[in-house]
Amino acid sequence: MAISEPSWGVHGKILDIDLASGRITERPLESDLVRDYIGGRGLGARLIYDLVNPSCDALSSDNIIVIAAAPLIGTSAPTAGRGHMVFKSALSGGLGSSNCGGTWAAAFKSTGYDALVVRGKAASPVLIDIRPERAEILPAGQVWGKDVHETTEELLADVSDGRSRVLCIGPAGENLVRFAAVMNDRNRAYGRGGAGAVWGSKNLKAIRVSGDKKIRIKDRARFESGREQSFYLLKQAPATKRLLRELGTAGLLELINLINMLPHRNFKDTRHRDEDVERVSGETLAKTLLERAAGCTLCPMACQRHTRVGDKTGEGPEYETLVMIGPDCDIYDLEAITRVNYLCNELGMDTISFGGTLACAMELFEVGLLTSGDTDGLELRFGRSEVLEEIARRVAFRQGIGDILAEGSYRLAESLGHPEFSMTIKKQEIPAYDPRASFTQALGYMTSPTGACHLKGGYAVSLAFFSGPKEIPRFSLLQSPVAIRNMHNLGIIQDSLGICRFTGYAFSTEPWARMMSGLTGADFSTARLEEIANRIAAVERLFNLAAGMTEADDWLPARFSQEPILVAGEERVVSEAASIKMRNDYYRARGWDEKGIPTPSLLDSLGLKMREFP
C-alpha cells in the first residue's frame, strides 16, 4: 500500500534522479518497506536489490546509488542523524553499504524525502541540489578537480542560508580510486566500499540539501519515555558518558595492544614496543594535538577529534586510521599520521583501505616484488612516515605507482602474481583488529556482507571483554557463530534506525523499540526488530550471491591460518578447520544452507522472493 499523505515518522517520498536523461521523479515510499526494512541500511539494501543488476560493472552507468534516511532522523532521538548509502561496491563487486555521521542526513530528511535514488551517468560533472518541492541537476564544472574542503566551502558560499549541507567527492572519487569516500561536513566519511568511485563514474560531484520539513510523532509520550531512557543510559556508561569524549576512538589503542590484537607490518604479527604504542595512543593524542571534541547530530558522546598539527587544523585521527596508517605500516609518528589523515579527508579517500593498501605495498617492496623502479625511486619500506603524503597524492591522482595502489591491495598484489600479500576479505582491506586474536573477530570479518569492515564485523573482540555475564570466550568455536549473528543483527538494526553504533556501549535495542513504536504507532518491539534484521541480512546475502559471490568469499587470507601470532603467551592461528566450522554454524544460525544460500523456508517466513535476473 502506498502512503499518499505524509505518515508518522516518514515523509512517504523517494526522490529518483536519472543523471543520464536528467529526469527527476518522485515516488511514494511504500509503507510496507518501512515496516519490513525501517530505513537507512535496510531500506537501501532492499532498493538496491530491486533496482540494480548485481552483475553490472560497479563503475558503469548501470550502477545505482541509494542514500536513505530513517524514521528517527528528524526527531530528537540521540544520534539520530546517520545516513546510509548503498550501491554496488567498486572494491568488492558485491554489496556496498556505508554509514556516515555528521549533519547531512538530518538536513536531507528536512527536504521532505526519505531516500534518494541516483541512476545513470551525467554527460559532464554535476551537482544535485535538493530543497523542499524542488530538486535540480546543476553543472559542477567549477568545482570538478577541487578537493573536498574547497568544494564544500564553494557550494555553501553560493547559498548562504546557514542550513545547507554538502556531500561531495574529492579528486580520489573523480579519478575512480576504488576506495574513494564520499565526504560530509568536510571530514566525515561514507568511507568503505568505494562509494566515491561510484559517484565519480557518474560524474556526480556533490549533493547539496537544505530544508525545513518536519515529521510527525504519533504517540509522543511513548516516544519520550524511550528517548529519556536512552539519554539516561548514555549518561551512565563510562564509555558514552565521558571516555569517547576524552579519548576518542583512539582510546582503544593501548587496550587492543595489550590483548595482542594490534596489527603490525601488514598483519605479519602483533608485536609492538609499549613505548611506541604510547606515542600514538588516544591519551597522547588528547594531550598533544587535540583542540576540541565535538559530536554529530544530537550526539552527547562527542568522539570527533578536532586537532591541530603546526598551522594546519582538521579532524582525526580515529582509531582505525591511526592503526592502519600507523603501526600496521610500522609507523608511530602521530603528527605524520594526522597530517596524512587530513590529506585523505581533503582528497576524499578511505583511510582504512589506504593504510591497508600501503602496508601491502610496503611488504611487497620489502620482499622485492615491487622495486624502486616501479615506484619512481620512492623507498616504500615499512616505517617510512616521510612517504605518506606523497603516496596519498599519487593514489588520489593515479600518478605512477599510485595508479595501481588506487585499485586496492587485492588487485595490486594479484597483478604481481601474489594475492596472498593482500590482507582483505571480499577484496576489502581488513581494519585494525587482528583476527587471530579472537574467533569472534575472525568470523565477524569473514561473514560481513561488505567484506572486512570495522562496522560490519569489527571490534567483535568486545564480546569477550565487555559483555559481562553474556561474555563469549575469545577462542570459543561453539559460541562464536550465534554471538556474531547477534552482533551483526544489532549492527543492522542500528544502521537501519539511523543512529550511532556507540550507543551500543550503553544499551541495546529496547529504548529504540519504544521510540520507534511511539514515533510510528506501529509495532517495533525488540522481537520485531530482530526479525527485520534477519530479513535485511537475507536481502544483503541474496544480492551478493546474485553478484557471483559464494561461500569461498567468506574466507580469511591464508596468513591468518598459516602464520601464528602470540596471544597471552600462546601461538594462535585461525585454522582452516576452525573457519569452516564457524562459517557453517553461522550459516545455520542464520537459516542459510551449507553454501550460505538462504533456504526457501527462511525466505518464505520473511516474506522474501529470490529475484530473477536477466
Binding site: 556508561a237 563510562p238 564509555a239 558514552t240 571516555l243 569517547l244 579519548l247 576518542g248 576512538t249 583512539a250 582510546g251 582503544l252 593501548e254 587496550l255 595489550l258 590483548i259 595482542n260 591519551e283 558522546m301 568522539c303 582509531y319 582505525e320 581494519p431 583488529y433 570495522h454 562496522l455 569489527g458 571490534y459 569477550a464 571483554f465 565487555f466 559481562g468 561474555e471 575469545r474 553504533r501 556507540f502 556501549y505 596471544v567 597471552a568 603467551g569
Partner: protein, 93 residues
Amino acid sequence: MIRVKVKLFGPFRELFGRREMEIDLPAGLRTIDLLRKLSDSEEKRKHLFSAADTLHPHIVIMRNGMPAHGPGGLEGLIRDGDIIAVFPLMGGG
C-alpha cells in the same frame, strides 16, 4: 612473597597517578583481593567497587591478556609474575 605487575588504563591512570606498578604480595591471594588492596583510599574504593562491594560492571580486569571475569577469573589465585590490567569498558572502532 610474590611480585605482580599492575597496568592501568584510561581514568585509572589519573586515579592512581601512574601507568603501572609492581606490587609484592603474600602468596595465596585472589585477583579480587589484589583489587581490594589497591583500593586504599575512599576515592579509589568508590571508583572500583559499588556500594554493595562488588566490582563495578564497567571495569574490565585482565590477567595475563585474558579477561578475568567468569568462573576462576576474579576468584582465581594470582601467581608470581602475573600482569593484571585494569581498564574501563571502552568504546571505539
